[in-house]
Every structure is written in C-alpha cells, then in structure tokens.
C-alpha cells in the first residue's frame, strides 16, 4: 500500500468551508448545516474506498450532502424545512462590501427562488462548479441545469430591479467581479 494515507482527509479539509456554505444555503440554519456536514463526512469516509484516484472529491462530497439533505427532508417532512432556506440566518462574518439593507433584500430575493433554481445558481455562481459538475451533483441533464441557472438569474434580477436596484449603477461592484466574471 503506497497510497498517501492522509490525502483523502486533506482533500476533505480543503472542501469543508465550501461544503458548509452550501449546507447553510440548503438548510438556512448553521446548527442544521453542521449536522448535515457531519453526516456527510461520516458517509464519505465510509465510502472512501469507492473514491477512485482522480475522483472529483469536492463534487462527490456535495452530491452526498445534497442527497442526505433531501432524504432527511423526506423522512422528517416539514420539521427540517422550518426556515426560509438560503442564508436567512445572521452570519457571524458579515459580507462587508455591502450595506446590511442591501444584503437583506438580496437574501429575501434568494429565499423566494424555488429550491432547484436556488441550489443551481449557488453551485454555479458561488461554489465554483461547472455546469457539468453541477448537473451531476443534482442528478439532472446539463441543459436542465443551464435553464435553472438562467431562470434563477432572471428572477433575482427582476426582484432586485423592482426594489429599485437598477438605479444604483456600477458604484460598489468589487474588484473580484472583474476577475470572476466567467461564472454565473
């Protein structure tokens, strides 16, 4: 056995912050998100022999977490879904480049999206997955993923336009936008 014993653990560690953010976006609650990530880590660890060399561990972890979330939802019914979803809970680190009112509006808009559109726009626009990877995670066709993202984007923009967003102009657009404008 010449395999590096801790590489699986290292890859998991590297993925955990993003995986946790995705979990918060699904559950809307930090404590539930952490439980979900914990279940995911244990499941993934037990299955690690099936993670072949070159497997996209990040995508696999997101897939396991998403499946776990929806299976728990089915089992427990409404109990799990006791929030509006998305990032509705107060964040301990505030996204500093935006005013809090501005972010409140955006969170509300995000919460109004159907679940499949919200997770699509988050996986593509924030988690950094390709359409192909996101389609695999959500077990749907690439075309379906593209149309979900497109509908989510249109809907978010419509909601924000209605709330007067279009008048703001390009003032506060951060530098990261210009370096990341390939996604979303």
């Amino acid at each position: 056995m010449s395999a590096e014993p801790t590489s699986f653990k290292r890859e998991m560690l590297a993925t955990l912050p993003s995986l946790r953010a995705f979990a918060v976006s699904l559950t809307g609650k930090h404590d539930k998100a952490d439980d979900l990530v914990q279940d995911t880590v244990m499941k993934a660890w037990a299955k690690q022999s099936s993670f072949e060399m070159g497997t996209n561990i990040k995508a696999r972890l997101f897939t396991i977490l998403r499946n776990e979330f929806y299976s728990q939802m089915r089992k427990r019914g409404r109990e799990v879904q006791d929030s509006d979803g998305a990032f509705t809970e107060r964040l301990s680190v505030h996204p500093s480049q935006y005013g809090s009112m501005d972010m409140q509006d955006f969170k509300k808009a995000l919460a109004q999206l159907p679940d499949d559109q919200r997770e699509a726009v988050i996986l593509i626009g924030a988690s950094g997955f390709s359409y192909e990877e996101a389609a695999e995670i959500c077990d749907c066709a690439i075309g379906t993923m593209k149309s979900r993202v497109s509908r989510a984007r249109t809907r978010l923009q419509d909601i924000l336009k209605i709330s007067g967003e279009a008048d703001y102009g390009p003032d506060a657009v951060s530098a990261q936008v210009t370096t990341h404008n390939h996604s979303f």
């Binding site: 946790r20 880590v41 996204p95 923009q157």
Partner: protein
C-alpha cells in the same frame, strides 16, 4: 455583455457564500475528522502487526 444588475447579483451571491466560508470549520467537525483518521490508522496498524505474526 452583462448588465450591472447581473454583475451585482453575482457578486452578492459570492459575498454571501464567502461570508459562511470565512467563518472557518467548527472544531467539532475537525475533531470528527481526526477521530475517523486515527481510528483508521489504528486499524491499519493492527492489521499490519497481525499480518506480520
């Protein structure tokens, strides 16, 4: 060409997601990973020593 609203939407989504990422990983999760790893290492060592006998 993306409109400003679209760019702002995209940037805010990343900011929101990034804020959770920046919180770091809770200790309980790190502890869990350590426990899983050390249990596995112990198991491996046990198997190896048994094979050696």
């Amino acid at each position: 060409m993306m409109g400003w609203v679209q760019i702002r939407t995209s940037a805010r989504l990343r900011a929101l997601y990034g804020a959770v990422q920046d919180e770091g990983v809770p200790n309980q999760l790190l502890d869990l990973l350590e426990k899983l790893d050390s249990a596995e290492q112990a198991q491996k060592a046990k198997t190896a020593s048994r094979d050696g006998e």
